[in-house]
């Protein structure tokens, strides 16, 4: 069982009602794709995106937050945690990302309904830090996915909605050049 599976299985066990959770980051790669990169399976945490439409409901869901607290306490000694949940306006995504989400079937959960953004949207999220070496490896993995069309990636990059933070914008532009290079390389 990967670290992400352990974290989500524990969360599912502590929940007493259905909760939808959109994964991103390496947890989304580890659980949402076939043959994920080994590094993704070693990640110590799970990252999630909270859609704007879900935000109010989740904020008011005290049982969810209590369950999260229990999970983080339970897995603390192993260095595993789930704390990085972001509202969608704090992440780089393309319009319509919500409708393009794909289901995640691992691990089998009783209460958690797991999803991930489409591959093109996940690439956008990987561009927020300027596509460092680690992110670039993940982007290359995503570019190889059968569900992806190169023109879809280019379109997503052009339509991306960025958080209103100057540093994020600068880093995204830096990443844009790198991803463009990867796209051109894959076309030849």
């Amino acid at each position: 069982m990967t670290n992400a599976e352990r974290i989500l299985t524990a969360l599912d066990r502590h929940l007493d009602h259905p909760v939808e959770l959109t994964l991103f980051g390496r947890a989304a790669l580890a659980l949402g794709f076939s043959n994920p990169p080994p590094a993704a399976e070693r990640s110590l945490d799970v990252d999630g995106i909270i859609p704007a439409s879900q935000m109010a409901e989740l904020e008011a869901d005290m049982q969810f937050w209590a369950a999260l607290e229990q999970v983080n306490e339970e897995l603390k000694s192993e260095g595993l945690y789930l704390t990085h949940l972001f509202q969608e306006d704090q992440i780089v995504l393309a319009p319509g990302w919500l409708q393009r989400r794909e289901p995640v079937s691992r691990p089998t959960c009783r209460h958690l309904k797991l999803l991930r953004p489409a591959a093109a949207d996940l690439i956008l999220t990987k561009m927020m830090r300027g596509a460092d070496d680690e992110d670039l490896e993940d982007i290359r993995f995503l570019l190889r996915q059968p569900e992806l069309r190169m023109e879809g990636v280019a379109l997503a990059i052009d339509r991306a909605v960025l958080p209103d933070v100057e540093e994020v914008r600068m880093l995204f532009e830096r990443a844009r050049e790198k991803v463009r290079h990867e796209l051109n390389r894959d076309c030849h």
């Binding site: 005290m62 999260l68 704090q90």
Partner: protein, 265 residues
């Protein structure tokens, strides 16, 4: 409203005059000190000092008097750091997350940023009592078993709060408490994405009291992180008490002291 705020007569409003380079957009009206209202409204200069006409001044205080008290009824100014939309994360050039620690604090009755500062004051950070009083802030009695000092310190540094330097200063004071566990503090900071802010505090602590191994240990435990955007964090001098006057009979009295929670809280 473009970053403006309604100001009342508080320590905070008095302190910003002449400090942030505010450019008032509305005249200040002198309060009716003696049951008379001046006929002319007064304008505040960027230095925040009203210059009434000599006629209005004489009417309020009597001929020859140059001292008056301003009661600000309403003032709308553009001060970037008071923009309620500007979070601490945005000031640092970062995004923020939906914090489980913030949710825990809310569950314990700590509903907003000021209540966290109020709790820090309850736990001995009395340097910030004037701020708490000026904001009419309060906090329920929350025990350290329910909400350890490490969690309170990190909660004060969460990026989703509106930017308020007092929170960082209170966090710095709490972090200096002898009971703080550096490993716990570092772990929480990493999980709650407060590493740059806590590194800034720890570096200031190490600079202030290099003989205190706590700060070096904390810096060792914290993961690498880019520094916060210049100007987004209080100057290190805000975390300590500094005096240029030293009793010559007490050569062991330090000039600079890291502010710590007072005991008995």
């Amino acid at each position: 409203m473009s970053g403006g705020s309604r100001i009342n007569e508080s320590e905070r409003s008095k302190s910003f005059f002449g400090s942030a380079g505010a450019s008032p957009s509305r005249a200040i009206e002198i309060a009716d000190l003696k049951g008379e209202r001046p006929r002319e409204p007064l304008s505040a200069t960027p230095e925040g000092i009203a210059h009434p006409t000599s006629e209005a001044n004489a009417r309020i205080r009597g001929p020859g008097c140059r001292v008056w008290r301003l009661q600000i009824r309403e003032l709308r100014v553009d001060i970037p750091w008071m923009d309620s939309r500007l979070t601490f994360a945005a000031r640092q050039g970062a995004t923020f997350h939906v914090s489980p620690l913030k949710m825990k604090a809310r569950r314990l009755g700590l509903a907003n940023a000021d209540s966290l500062v109020a709790l820090a004051v309850q736990r001995g950070c009395r340097h910030y009592l004037p701020y708490v009083q000026s904001m009419n802030a309060s906090a329920p009695r929350v025990t350290r078993a329910e909400f350890p000092d490490e969690e309170l310190a990190v909660a004060l540094l969460l990026g989703s709060w509106p930017h308020e330097p007092v929170m960082v200063r209170a966090a710095a004071q709490l972090a200096g408490a002898p009971s703080i566990r550096p490993d716990e503090l570092a772990l929480l900071a990493e999980r709650e994405r407060c590493v740059p802010a806590l590194r800034h505090i720890a570096q200031a602590g190490r600079q202030t009291e290099p003989e205190n191994g706590f700060w070096e240990e904390l810096l060792r435990l914290l993961p690498p992180a880019p520094p916060p955007r210049p100007g987004s964090m209080p100057h290190p001098s805000r975390f300590r008490s500094e005096t240029g006057i030293v009793n010559p009979r007490r050569q062991d009295m330090p000039r600079v002291l890291w502010l710590r929670p007072q005991k008995g809280a």
